[in-house]
Structure formats: C-alpha cells, structure tokens
Symmetry: C2
Subunit: 349 residues, 2 copies
C-alpha cells in the first residue's frame, strides 16, 4: 500500500519545481557523487581516465546511484561532466589527475571552424544509456536530473584550454573578437539545448544548467554572454518535447540575480553561498523554486557552523518552494557523517 501510494504522489523535487512549497524541502547536493565517497573511489579505479569513466554507462550509472543509496536524497543527478559538449563538438578534452581539464584551446577563427556544427551523438550515446540505466534503478520518489554547462562557462574552458582563476582568456577573447565569440556561444546554446532535449527523451525528469563562471562577467557582458544564451536555450527547449523543468545556476550573479531569474521558462534558480536566503526569497518571482545555498565549507566544518547554516537556509526560504542544496559543489574532504547530519536536520525541519 505504501509503495502504491508513493508511486502516485508527485516526486517532491518535481513538485517544488512546479512552484509548490513542500512541507519538507527536497534535498540533493551539487557533486553529491564523487571523491568524498569511498564507494565512488572504488569504482573510479575501474576506468583508466575520467572521461572513460563518464562514458561508461555501468560505472556512471553506479556513481549516480551511490549517493541515493547512502543518503536517500530526493534527486539523483546524472554523473558526467560539462566538458562532454566540447568533446562531442570535436575538441580534444582530457583530465589530468588532480590538475583539472585540458583542452586544445580555441584561439582563432580556424580553430572555431574546425569544430563540428552538431554534437557527435555517437560519442554521447553512453550518456543517454546511463540515464536509462539510472532511471530503471531509481526509487519511485527520487527524481533524475540531467545537466549541461551553460554556454559562457563551457566556452571559457574551450578558450583557455583549462581552468583559470577568473576566466581571463575567454573574457579577453570576447572583447577582442566579439563576433567570433558570439558565434561560439550561439552554437553552444543550440547544441546544449538539443543535448538536454535528448537527455529528457532518455528519461531525465529535470535539468540543471551550470553557469559556474558567470560571476566574473561585468554587467554588459553578463547580459550578453550569460543571460541571453540561456534565454536562447530555454526558447529552444520550449519548442521541443518532452519539456521537463529547468533549473539554472548562475554562480556569482549577485546583483544581477533578479534579472536572471526573470528569464521565461525557468522552473528553478540555484543560489550560491553569497546570496542571503531571506532577501532572495523576497526578491525573486514567486513561482520560481529557489535552490540552495549552504556553504560547502560549512559542510566540511560540521558542528555549529553546519547547524547554523542549515537553520539559516531553512528559515530564510521557509515561505517558498525550496530545494535544499549547497551554494557550490561538495568538497572532496567532506566527512560523510556531516552529510548524514545535514540530511537528518533538513528532514527534521
């Protein structure tokens, strides 16, 4: 009876993304799968490289499911990487262990012209198979979230060829060659929308667009390279079927958050650690689900810092459809006991 009842009830994450405040906020964590889990480290060793791990449906599905089994989160997020899109556009991508991604940087119009126009779907086939495998093994009340990087964030890696402290190479490229950069951004917006559409067709029930580096952009560039491209993606997604809810995470949007959150077609917005929960709850349009925003460093610290952070988020977002999450990804040194405590406290209300 219980099983039958729960399979008919909407999943709490999806209900929140419809703007319906849940008595207990659904919870998942950015980077909830990963190095802080011993079971992840065990299976990670089965693939020779990080990309091969991501493209192995058995391993990627297992990594996606591990945190659900251990913590009972309300959502699983596809285990993959934002750089599979440039990889599927034909750019060389690899991951040096402990040193982040390495790409053959886009430096000229010729480099840009060498990219594919469409994603290489054969390369991405394992991602869709991962989604199908996860979907078949997910508890009934748990939602599956797909994802991709936002055009600006993905472009910043494509141009720098690596992670940088403030994406200076891409900012410089955009100032010097705005038309070429705009062409790259438009292509990324179009292929990323199509990529999410295919994730939905494979079974993803929601998706998050990660604009992890939007905060480094000055106001005019934020509008041009963060807001407009995501608007373009949302417009394309509205025209395709099925149309699951979209969460966007414009990290560092700060004073530009309200403008961003007004984008038509967003179901939820991810809030970073700098956002004051009560202020965001008061300022952002009502049907939008607010996701966030505990400091991942407080989750590492535990104790009073963790308890106070949880309490501030629960209280600040109390009147809204709230999805509990961190303000950035789980850090590798996070103790498992602190995650258990977090989940218990959120569910205790």
């Amino acid at each position: 009876m219980t099983a039958a009842l729960s399979s008919n009830a909407p999943k709490p994450l999806l209900a929140a993304l419809c703007g319906v405040r849940q008595p207990v906020p659904p919870i998942w964590l950015m980077r909830q799968a990963g190095r802080y889990l011993p079971e992840y480290r065990a299976i990670r060793a089965e693939a020779p490289s990080f990309l091969e791990f991501c493209y192995n449906p058995r391993l990627a599905a297992e990594a996606t499911l591990q945190p659900i089994r251990r913590f009972g989160f309300d959502a699983a997020i596809l285990f993959s990487d934002i750089l599979v899109t440039p990889h599927a556009l034909g750019q060389s991508v690899s991951f040096e262990s402990g040193d982040g991604p390495r790409l053959q940087p886009i430096e000229s119009a010729a480099d840009y012209a060498a990219l594919r126009e469409e994603l290489d779907w054969a390369r991405l086939e394992p991602v869709f198979e991962t989604i199908e495998r996860v979907k078949a093994n997910l508890p009934a009340e748990v939602a599956l979230i797909g994802f991709c990087g936002a055009p600006w964030t993905v472009a910043s890696y494509m141009i720098a060829g690596r992670g940088t402290p403030d994406q200076t190479p891409a900012r410089l490229f955009a100032y010097r060659q705005p038309d070429l950069f705009a062409a790259l951004i438009d292509r990324l917006a179009d292929v990323s929308a199509e990529y999410l559409a295919r994730q939905f067709r494979a079974g993803a029930e929601a998706a998050q667009i990660f604009d992890s580096w939007s905060g480094v952009l000055p106001p005019a560039e934020f509008e041009r390279w963060c807001v407009k491209p995501i608007e373009r993606m949302l417009a394309r997604l509205r025209a395709s079927a099925p149309r699951p809810p979209i969460i966007a995470f414009p990290r560092g949007a700060a004073t530009r958050l309200a403008e961003f959150a007004a984008l038509g077609g967003l179901a939820g917005v991810g809030l970073d650690t700098a956002v004051e929960p009560a202020a965001a709850a008061a300022a952002l349009p009502a049907p939008l689900a607010l996701q966030g925003n505990l400091d991942p460093v407080a989750l590492v610290a535990g104790g009073r810092a963790l308890d106070e952070g949880v309490e501030r988020a629960l209280r600040g977002f109390a009147g809204r459809a709230h999805i509990f999450n961190l303000g950035h990804g789980v850090l590798p040194q996070t103790p498992i006991a602190h995650v258990e405590r977090l989940v218990a406290r959120v569910r205790a209300g």
Copy 2:
C-alpha cells in the same frame, strides 16, 4: 605663477575624496606600478627577492614614481605588499617567482600565540622611508596613497599559507575555531590601523584598505569578517591624527555593497568590475567618492572594448565624486599604449 596656483589648489584626488565632484575625474590604477612596465622590470632585477625589493626605499620609491612619470596619474600608491603586516607580526613570508606568496600557515592556537602582539616597526621602517622619499619627489598635484590589506584578506593568506581560488582554508578555520579566528582578525584590525596611522605620519595623504577576498564570504561571515573588522579599523583611525581619507575596496561585495558603504569614516569605496556604475551611483550614500571600475581585461584588449568600458564608467558615475580606476589590478600583459589611451580618453571627458 602656474606652479604657485596649482600648489594652492587641492589635489584632485583629495578633493574627490572630500565628496567634491571633479570636472575631470582623477585617475589612478590598482597595480599601476609593476611588471607591465619595462622600467619596473629593470629595477626589479636589482633586488634578490620581492620582499627585499619592497623593503628597499630607493627601489620601492622609484617603482611608486614610475607610473606617475610615464602616465601622469593623479595619485601614486605606495609600492609594497599586503603581506608585510603578517611578516611584521613575525610570520615567515616569501614570494616564489611566478607562483605567489608562501607563508608558514597558522594552523593552531600555538601558531597564533607565536605571533607578535604588535608589528615589528624596525621591519617596516623602510616602508615609511619609502613614503618620505616618494613625497619629496611627487608633482604638487599628485596625491600619495598608502595602503594595507583588510583583516579578512590578510588572515586568509596567513591561514592558507598561499593564494587559493576561494580561501577555503581560512573559511574552514573560521567555522571550526571562530574564537581563535576572531582573535586573529581583531589583532590584524588593530595593527593594520596603527600601520596606516604611521603611513599617514610619514606623509601618505590617503589610504586604501584592500579586501580582495571579501566576495567569497557568505552573508553572515561577510558581516563578521569583512564589515566589522574594517569598522574597527576606521574607529581606531578616527581617534588618531592626522586623519586622511580612507578608501576601502571590498572586492565581490555585490549585494552587500550598500551595507559596506554605510560604514562611518569611509571617504571612498572601490568598486569591482561586477558593479553597474549607474546603479552604484544611485544606491550609495552621496558624499562617498566612488572609485572604479573598468575591467582590467578590457584594458588588455584595447580598441572598442576599452573605449566602451571607459565611456560606460564616465557616464555611469557622471553625477558623483568619481575616481577613475580599474575594477581590479592592472594585468601584467597590459600594453602600455592602452593605458595611454585610457588616460587620454578619461581626460578628454
């Protein structure tokens, strides 16, 4: 006659810091002295290490004066480093070439207890001599700005022992050992205020407090580790003489900027690249001088990006006492011709 007249007129930078809008905004640039200048690279080679360079009054004064001679800026800023305060508290500090600072990290109460209570003034004597030398050689209309790091930013290096992307070590330390961290912050606030007071007595006519890392703090921590310590510094400085104007630069303050700018005792506030000039001009208290905020990457790019950025700042801050500056420091790859063009355009109005 001209010389006599100009020596009686207030220096434009100091007039702006009194809240008086200047017909042409005074201009200086963060990191205006440094590696992008061939004359700097030439003298830098005369000292075996970066710290020895900073502590050599002849070389440091020359580095301070070089950009004034070349570009005719309205202010010189003391050539030094924010890490001379931990160094003068007895912490080991060095600079690896191309790899940033290295400090013996503060990890425990014992490490904290090993610090001096007061700054070692003998170690800082060359800084005051540098100020005297610069002052004796500065054109009459050019103001001399002293500076120090803000307590949070300095503490973040003292705890991590190096630069990090988001100051996770200090954030974690502050969550885990808030009382010990508060003691460190209070000590830094007190000695930094005294350090600025002595810079003023040596001849500095204004000072800037750099909180380069305030943006990584969540709201409650921003209030506790950025706003309150700077408030404490300002209170101590108000009680000492002379009392030149203070500019604070809370980089990444974003939505917290108005709260920060309301601090009693501030003459100016430095604005980072994320700030929309017209919005800041409308939101911040009227007598406060607004300093900023061209993107240093636009200065590297030059051309239309530079011209548009200059125009946006000039237009956005037009109604206010405005000090033209970048939103962060000059980048090493900045072409000198672009700085010349910037100065010419700002002065052309």
